[in-house]
Each structure stands twice: as C-alpha cells, then as structure tokens.
C-alpha cells in the first residue's frame, strides 16, 4: 500500500481513538456499578460494600485521568488532520462535541470531587446523588459522542447551502433512531467492561486466596450483572445490525462476507474473503440463516458487495473478521457469566478453579469486543467519512504532507506508550495492594483535582 498523509492520518486516528476509548468505556461501566454499590451499601449498611466501593473509586480515578488526557488530543485532531471535514461539518459536529466537553467538565467539576474527598462532609443521600450524577455525566458524554458518530453513519437533519452544512432540525439529529440503538449498545458494552473487570479482579483474589469478603462481592455481583446484561446486549446488537442492513447495505454485505446477491441467503460463519476473485475461501455457512438474520424471513434476497461499484466498497476483511471477533467475545462472556451464575446459585462458584481462571483471564474480552465493534462500524463505513456525503480521501487536510503526518504519528505513539505503560503499572499496583487498606486512608483534605496521585498513597498502603 502506498504510504500517504491520508493513510497515516487514518492510522493515527485509529490508534489514538482506540487507545482513548478503552478508558471512557471502563469509567462509564465502573461509574454505573459504583452507583449500584452505593445503593446497596446505604440499604444494607454492610461494610464490605463500602470497602469495595472505595477500592474501585480509586481505580476509576486513574482511568478517568488517562481518559481526559487522551481526550484532549481527540478534540484537536479533527482540525489538524481532517480540516475539510471539520470545516464542512463543523456547524453540526462542533456543537455536539462542545456539548460533550461541557457535560464532561460539569461532571468532573461538581460531583467527582465530592466523590473523592467529601464522603464525611455531605449527608449520605447527597453522596449517593453525587455518585449517580458522575454516572450520569459519563453517560451523557457517551451520548454526545454517539450522536456525533451516528450522524456520520446516517446523516440527517441538515441541508447543504453554499457548501456549508446547516443544521435544520436538531431534534432529528439528537433523536436519530440510529442513535437510540447504537447508544444503548455502547452503554451496555461499557457496563460489561465494568462488570468483567470487577469479576475478573474478584476471581484473581480468589485464586490468590486474598481479601475473601471483597473478592466474593466482586466476583458474584460482577458475574450476575453480566449474566443479566448480556442477553440485552445481544438484542441491541441485533438492532444495530438491523439499521446497518437497512441504511448501510454495503457495510452489511461486507460484515456478512457476501460477495453476490443470494436468495434465500446463507449465513457465513467463517471464511477467508478474497477481494481479487471476489469470493470466499474455506467457507463454512448455514443455508437460509442469512435471510433470517437480515430480514427475519426464509426467502428474502440479500444484497452482495459486488452490487456496489468498487470505489464505494469498504475493504471486506476488516469488518468481516472484526465483527466475528466481537461476536465471539460476546458468546464467550455469555458462557462464563451464565455458568458462573449457575454455580453461584449452587453455592460452589469459588471451588471451580477452572472457571476462576477463565473469569480472571476474561477481563480483556469486553474491551476487545468494544474495539472490534468500532472497527466494524468505522472501517465498514469506508470509503466515506460522512456516509454517502463526504469521502475520507476528501476530508483530510489538503496541505498535510506524508513526512509531517509520519512525525505526528510517531510522537503520539511514543507519548501514548509512556502514558499507557505507567498508567497500567499504577493500576496494577493498586490491584495488587487490594481493597483491604482503603478505609485506613487519611481523610485527604488537600487536592481534589489529583485523581492519579491517590494511586500512590494507596499502593503504599498509607
């Protein structure tokens, strides 16, 4: 492939946003779980809930910090690398992203500080509300991002006048039906990221025979919640597939690995797509299932990728495989969560060391599913940046040269690897130190805007 500023900009965007999305999805999930825990704590008064709450709050703080820092880069990158997109769609995307920034700041400013430092200074009901507000804030952030991205997938509510995109109906942009299947899908994915991180940590402590009471809460609650969320997530996943089928047929054909029209269509489980011969190799498929999934019918005709001119097709391999990895992760999570819940009801979850190991090792699954899900959505939208309206190749900054784009890609790689390595190291230290030492923390009256600094106190058991 020829290396161009366009290719490097795309790589840079993919790298920076993939790195970034891990942290917000974790914090969205953990914030919701913290709210749930705080309700349980206040309802039952069980100190274990409180210990677990404090423990995950500190980890939340570190992840939140990294999410904020890497988010700054995102806010600049649209103008720097994608100036044509920023200029044309700015009147729509700019306000949406600015709402995201403002709601994120509002959350951080008013309630996060209370969460970290004011437990003893506010009444319990207010503390609970603050926790819920932080969860609401992370959710709102996700909402604005999903509105923005959904507008790029299915643009609506605007006209183009003199080359400028003018929003005509914010209601249609904000309440785009596509938003209301993709936003819950992302939200549930984040909740799963939270529950699996929690359950995996619990399993880890069980395997290490440490922090018994806390480990039990994490493990059981994490798996129970995941077991309940996963079927709902599958449902919303199916709904997202429905919008792709109806609104982005070319992406749907790529995901399905379908090169040619079929009636009734079969469902390809796995294959190796070959774009030169426009066929699949090593194909394993189930007849009729493709029509059933696509149109809920036994004999519908489903379109193939070759119906579309080559210039309008995404590269099939990425959405095809990314989608299968995502679904695979989902099924693996479902099996672990349901088996775990079953054993938990039988009262012999902790004794099953194989499942403990599986649960412990499952913590990357929701994150892999989130990343591959986004690869499917974003690569599947190619060659468009705004679907059907603006091509990615036309959106890139015209004056950007290959060497400059290469410099920036390298700079971001180095900086992010430094942040990622140290961030991971600190989170690991906190997990290793475990939830025991939390309540002996001195009341930190000093600096509410220093989330990461807590990691240290914590790791040293101060």
């Amino acid at each position: 492939m020829h290396v161009t500023a366009l290719l490097l900009s795309r790589l840079q965007f993919a790298f920076t946003i993939s790195f970034h999305i891990i942290f917000p999805s974790f914090t969205i999930g953990v914030a919701a779980w913290l709210t749930f825990l705080e309700i349980l704590y206040q309802a039952t008064g069980r100190p274990t809930y409180r210990v677990v709450f404090e423990f995950w709050l500190k980890i939340f703080a570190v992840a939140f910090g990294i999410g904020v820092v890497t988010g700054i880069v995102m806010a600049f990158q649209f103008g720097m690398n994608w100036s044509v997109l920023a200029r044309l769609a700015g009147p729509i995307q700019g306000p949406l992203i600015s709402y995201e920034t403002f709601s994120a700041f509002f959350l951080e400013a008013s309630f996060f500080g209370i969460l970290l430092f004011a437990r003893s200074r506010v009444p319990p009901w207010f503390y609970l509300i603050s926790t819920a507000m932080v969860a609401l804030g992370t959710t709102l952030s996700a909402y604005w991002i999903m509105v923005n991205n959904s507008w790029m997938q299915v643009p609506t509510g605007y006209v183009v006048a003199n080359g400028v995109f003018t929003p005509t109906s914010w209601m249609r942009i904000l309440f785009n039906p596509v938003v209301w299947v993709r936003f819950p899908h992302m939200l549930l994915a984040s909740y799963l990221a939270g529950t699996f991180s929690v359950a995996a940590t619990g399993a880890w402590y069980v395997l290490r025979r440490e922090f018994n009471a806390e480990a039990r809460v994490m493990l059981h609650m994490g798996l129970y919640l995941a077991a309940m969320l996963l079927p709902i997530q599958l449902f919303f996943g199916h709904m997202v597939g429905g919008y792709v089928h109806d609104r982005q047929p070319v992406k749907f054909a790529a995901i399905e690995g379908r090169w040619h029209d079929e009636q009734p269509a079969s469902e390809i489980l796995i294959a190796l797509p070959d774009s030169t011969s426009e066929t699949n190799r090593y194909e394993i498929k189930v007849p009729v299932l493709g029509s059933l999934i696509g149109s809920l019918s036994f004999h519908s005709k489903e379109v193939g990728l070759t119906d579309f001119p080559r210039a309008d097709r995404p590269p099939m391999a990425v959405p095809f495989f990314a989608f299968r990895i995502m679904v695979g992760c989902g099924i693996a999570m479902l099996l672990i969560a349901w088996l775990g819940t079953y054993l938990s009801r039988k009262g012999r979850l902790e004794q099953n060391r194989v499942l403990m190991w599986l649960t412990f090792l499952s913590f990357p699954l929701p994150f892999i599913a989130i990343l591959t899900g986004w690869f499917t959505a974003e690569v599947g939208r190619q060659p468009w940046t705004i679907y059907g309206v603006l091509r990615t190749g036309d959106a890139v900054t015209p004056i950007l040269t290959t060497s400059t784009a290469l410099i920036s890609l390298l700079v971001y790689c180095v900086v992010y690897i430094v942040i990622g390595t140290f961030g991971a190291l600190f989170i690991y230290r906190m997990l290793l130190a475990g939830p025991g030492s939390v309540l002996t923390l001195p009341p930190v009256a000093s600096f509410p805007r220093q989330p990461m600094s807590l990691a240290d106190d914590f790791a040293h058991g101060k």
């Binding site: 820092v69 509002f106 008013s110 400028v164 003018t166 700079v411 600094s453 106190d457």
Partner: protein, 328 residues
C-alpha cells in the same frame, strides 16, 4: 449570537492564557530550580489547579469548532506541527505531575518532562500568536499557505517572548504562594524577567516596523488603541513599585493586567477579523441554528457554572504552600 460566542471565545482564551500561563511559567522556572525541596514546592503551588486551567484550552478549542468551524479547520491545520508539539508538551508535563512522586527510579526523566514540556508548550503558543500577527496567507477565505507558513523569525521571537512572559506570571504567582528563600528568589527574578519580556517586545516591535506589518497601519487608523499599551505601561510601573515594596499579592494582578492589555490590543487591532486580515468574525461564524443550539444549553447554563467552579476552586486552594506539604 455571534457576539455572544466571540465573547465566550475571547474570555476562555484570556482565562487560559492567564491561568495556564502561570502554571506553564512555573514549569519553566522548575527547570532552573536546583534543589529537590524547591522543585517540590514549585509543583505543589500549581498541582491542585493545573488541570482546571487546561480545561480552558479545550473549551476554547471546542467553542472554536462549534461556533467558528472555518477558523478551527484553518488554524489547526495550518499550525499542525506547533500544535502537535504543544499537545505533546502539555500531556507530558501533565503526567509528570502524577508520576514524579511515584517514580521509584529516574526522577530526572519526569523533571525534564515537566520543565521541557512546559517550555515547549509555551514556546509553541507564542509562535502561533506571532504567526497570526505576522499574517497567514489567506485567499478568498481559504488557507493558501503551506505547512511551515507559521515559521518566521518574527513568530519564533514571539515564542521566546511568551516563555519569558509566562515565566514572569509564574514568578508572580510563586511570590503569592510561597515563603522564605523561594519567595526571595522570585522577587529577584521578576525584574529580570520583566526586562527580558520587554526587550523581546521591543525587538518584535522593531521587526514589525521594518517589515511594515499591516497591523501597524491599524494603530495609526485607530489611535484609541494606544490606551491598551498605556494601561500596560501603568501596570508595569506599578509592578516595579510593588516588587520594591515587596507586596505579595499585587505583582500577579499587575502582570495579569499587562497580559490582558496585550490581549486587548491584539483583539481590537484586528477587529473585525478573526484570522487577521483574512477572515472576519461574521464570515467564520457557524449558521445561526448551530450558535443558538449551543447558546440555550452550554452557553446559558453550563458556562456560568464553570466560571463559578473555577472561582470556588481558587478560593479553596488559597493561601501559602509550604515546601514540605507534598501535594500528593
């Protein structure tokens, strides 16, 4: 609507320059600190507020994008490299706050990241301001320059000038927040830094005269503009007096006033252009429906809350920071 958003933009940029200015300045002075105790005191003086300060940079960025997308797209792509290095500098110095005290080995890596990141970020900001004053090639509302159009002796000089200016702001903040020998050193640094800033400013002005920059014509057309530098001069004189008398609180306000005067000069000289002599505010503004959408939510409700929050957090962290009170 346009006036509202251009005011918000101006306010958030000015707040950013003043607030992150002093904390970047302290980062620059950090590079000069010789002892570990001084370094810790310097970090502690900004630790609780730095990320709040940087929020105003992001606010400026997204308001620019939403309300003036043409400016966002034009400037951010024209300033690709300076912005890249500014961001890298800001991120590295930001994480240095967190990692400096946790690092079990190699603390100098984080010391360098903190001082170097601050210096690079300040220099790049000054360079971009310089490039704006110097003029970017704009033809019929489109950017007609290349990747390095920002680069000129003039803009680099402005970069150096802003480093001195931020260091001056930082020293004044430290005078307020510290005691003992650190405070003494800062009192001693203020005249030096003021002179350095002034010297750079003088050279910048001479360069501008020799290149006959269009902005100077503006000054002849609009003589009332001289009231801003006049205000700056008054503040400068007051600064000298207050340093002599060793007032602790006034120097920061006076330098802040000087910065505001410079900012005002800048804004009024170019009015009604938002990119000097290329694109006007009205040309750059997003359609009314975009501006109104932003106004009725974030403009009317969230922005006042953010301003109030900023004020409250500065109240909470008022007072001296001892060298021994490690912030973390």
């Amino acid at each position: 609507m346009i006036n509202f958003w251009v005011s918000v933009l101006a306010l958030s940029i000015l707040l950013y320059v003043l607030l992150d200015g002093f904390d970047l300045g302290i980062g620059i002075l950090y590079g000069l600190a010789r002892t570990d105790r001084t370094r810790r005191a310097l970090m502690s003086a900004v630790a609780p507020v730095w990320d709040g300060n940087e929020t105003w940079l992001i606010v400026s960025g997204v308001v620019l994008w939403g309300a003036f997308p043409i400016v966002y797209a034009t400037l951010f792509s024209a300033f690709y490299l300076p912005l890249l290095f500014m961001l890298a500098g800001l991120v590295l110095r930001g994480v240095a706050f967190e990692f400096r005290n946790k690092a079990r080995h190699l603390p100098w890596v984080w010391d360098t990241a903190f001082a170097g990141g601050s210096l690079v970020a300040a220099f790049m900001q000054g360079t971009m301001v310089g490039a704006l004053v110097h003029g970017l090639p704009i033809l019929n509302g489109n950017y007609a320059g290349g990747e390095f159009s920002w680069l000129s002796p003039f803009s680099l000089l402005c970069g150096a000038g802003l480093c001195f200016g931020y260091a001056l702001l930082g020293a004044c903040w430290l005078v307020r927040k510290s005691e003992g020998d650190i405070q003494n050193n800062c009192f001693r640094l203020i005249p030096t830094l003021s002179l350095a800033s002034l010297a750079v400013l003088a050279v910048v002005l001479l360069l501008a005269l020799s290149e006959n920059l269009r902005v100077l014509g503006r000054w002849v057309e609009r003589p009332y503009l001289f009231s801003f530098p006049l205000l700056g001069i008054v503040a400068g004189v007051a600064l000298v007096l207050s340093v002599r008398r060793r007032f602790e609180r006034t120097p920061f306000y006076l330098v802040a006033a000087t910065f505001s005067a410079a900012f005002g000069t800048f804004a009024v000289s170019f009015w009604p252009y938002i990119i000097p002599f290329g694109i006007t505010i009205d040309e750059a503004a997003a359609p009314h429906s975009s501006l109104a959408f932003m106004f009725w939510g974030e403009g009317l409700f969230v922005l006042p809350l953010m301003l109030a929050y900023t004020a409250i957090s500065y109240r909470v962290f008022r007072g001296k920071v001892g060298a021994n009170s490690v912030y973390h």
